[in-house]
Subunit: 351 residues, 2 copies
DNA sequence: TTGAAAGCGATACCAC
DNA sequence: GTGGTATCGCTTTCAA
């Protein structure tokens, strides 16, 4: 006699009516037991849960969308441009996906050349409940589209024209001011900022915000300040090293760095080559870094740009935008946090 | 009198019956006109297309899934581990997304801790039509799951146990043979292979494939050949440098490298330190690199492992797996392509 | 606390 | 070449 093969898998997709039959209740009770939108007696709930487990039931996504007008999917639009910093992007995508799953949402990835097309498509087909916008540019084309669709849209990053939009971001201005305060409080009277590569100040939006906040706060504190762009990854690191050197040569005793990890390495290398030591001769603070500054050749104080807080908040806002109390349009800023790695001390002259 | 605001957007989602009414045809005709699954006279098709445009119609995703049993979504499972090489991963994700869109498919991103859970979920809820598996490990947990679900699954990469699976990968054997041929054709009579770290030859399956193909082809061409493992990322690069040195000391005039970028750097550093120049004294070829070998200190000829061909083919197989002629399980190999970066020349003795 | 049944908006079969 | 309509599997109102 041939033996039955083990039924490890259901080959026909099990439906809600089979669950209902197995549990001896009606279809609607099963639905309510699973969604929790109506009280169900503990006893019947248990029977239903058992039936669900036994049969390996999982509600059909299409049917759920159609009947419930909730897709349980968020779109994530991200240009994934070649020139952008891949590890940073990946951690944002990852953090978003994790936060979404925590809220029982899946992530649909939109990476089209013309991002608006994808957004328009998923919005008008009702494929997603909300749209999360990453890697926001100052003049982002997705802003106009966000205004024209009814699908709730959350920006992680702040475009220049953000009137009426829901935006999440690190409070870059506060971060820059905090960094300035720390070194000024330590006694420094002349500080420099090594910023992003030149192109970032045209194509991205937070670099100028950091720069302006840095300059404003330094002026408020009545100290000397100066700014240099860094070199980009593909070019030689010489641009960055010259930037660091000229800041130090001009008297800066503390350097703030707002750039990728390789720029930090270059700055440290230059400081070392100048025969200076951190923090005795030069203090260092990293602003809005999205990598771990404690694994640099010299650990560096940092006000990090962590993906998790931003993405968690963005997902939270997306979820809330589907409820009666929709989040208020405007900037939802994450307060900066300072991590001490002992790379700031009083300047040489102060001792 | 208050002026009507311009109707730039439809605020109520337009449905197929409205399109039908506007075009003066039945619902089914609209559906067929859009899907092309039944001939429709040119004239009525035009009227329908106009109505679609005018009303900005886009079929409801949920309804389409439910009625059509096609979701037009592929899942993409990718661990997105912190330790893996972000830029490489991102280019694979991007290439997959682009290929999918070309086929009118969207990508749902699965990045859960335990990848199988996500796969099981989307499979059993019918959320996706197929699953694409990236960043495949030799003993990948997703292999077992792929076998247990009915959703077609395509692996980009080859796990050790790939019996019955559909896998896409570079043709490593052909790549190794091609590399050997190029240097032998250039006149070299003694060549070396700097391979992966030792552990890769135990835990992975393509490194031995490359090594064997290298040795087989070299033997066929009747030349001297030798092999060394490289050092792994965490250990010192000394292992790699010694490997390169001993190959050269033993008479190799050409080195093939099948390893990560840091190993390439170490090999180049050693060659330079030996006072040799590329390609005058030593020729170099990189096999199956997934990074850009033209940005190494010395540009190196390469037979790359490119994301696009693999991802295009994977998507193509996914699409075909939904048609009557499903792709055959097994390895679907991408033919190797040689990129000349001028790191191969005739050996010193030949001149 | 539970059940019956009316949709949700497409697809695709059966008729004409 | 075109139209009517059963159907997909769930959510949610209405009734009990």
């Amino acid at each position: 006699m041939a033996q039955q093969p083990p039924r490890t898998t259901e080959y026909a997709m099990v439906k809600i009516n089979e669950v209902a039959a197995a549990a001896g209740v009606s279809i609607s009770t099963v639905s309510y037991a699973l969604s929790g939108k109506r009280p169900v007696s503990t006893e019947t709930r248990k029977r239903i849960e058992k039936a669900v487990r036994d049969l390996g039931y999982s509600p059909n996504a299409g049917a759920r969308m159609l009947a419930g007008s909730r897709t349980h999917i968020f779109a994530l639009t991200e240009p994934l441009r070649r020139d952008s910093h891949a590890p940073t992007h990946m951690s944002f995508v990852l953090a978003t996906a994790v936060a979404a799953r925590r809220n029982d949402y899946d992530i649909l990835l939109l990476t089209e050349e013309q991002a608006s097309a994808g957004m328009a498509r998923v919005a008008s087909s009702g494929l997603v409940d909300a749209i999360l916008v990453l890697d926001v540019a100052p003049d982002d084309e997705r802003v106009a589209l966000a205004r024209s669709i009814e699908t709730p849209t959350i920006f992680v990053g702040v475009p220049d024209d953000h009137e009426g939009l829901v935006c999440v971001d690190l409070d870059f201005e506060a971060a820059a001011a905090l960094a300035v305060d720390r070194v000024v409080d330590a006694g420094h009277r002349s500080i420099g900022l090594v910023g992003q590569p030149q192109v970032a100040y045209e194509k991205s939006n937070f670099p100028p915000r950091v720069r302006r906040a840095f300059e404003r706060r330094a002026a408020e504190r009545g100290i000397q300040f100066d700014f240099r762009v860094s070199g980009d990854r593909m070019s030689s690191i010489e641009v960055t090293r010259q930037a660091a050197r000229s800041l130090v040569d001009n008297g800066a005793t503390a350097l703030l760095v707002h750039a990728a990890d390789d720029v930090h390495n270059a700055v440290i290398a230059e400081v070392v080559e100048l025969g200076l030591s951190v923090p005795r001769d030069v203090s260092l603070v990293s602003v809005a870094a999205s990598f771990d500054t404690s694994v640099l050749p010299i650990p560096v104080d940092v006000i990090p740009l962590l993906p998790e807080p931003s993405c968690d908040l963005a997902v939270d806002l997306a979820v809330r935008s589907l409820t009666p109390e929709r989040p208020t349009p405007g900037l939802h800023l994450i307060p900066p946090v300072y991590y001490d790695r002992k790379s700031v001390a009083a300047p040489p002259g102060a001792r």
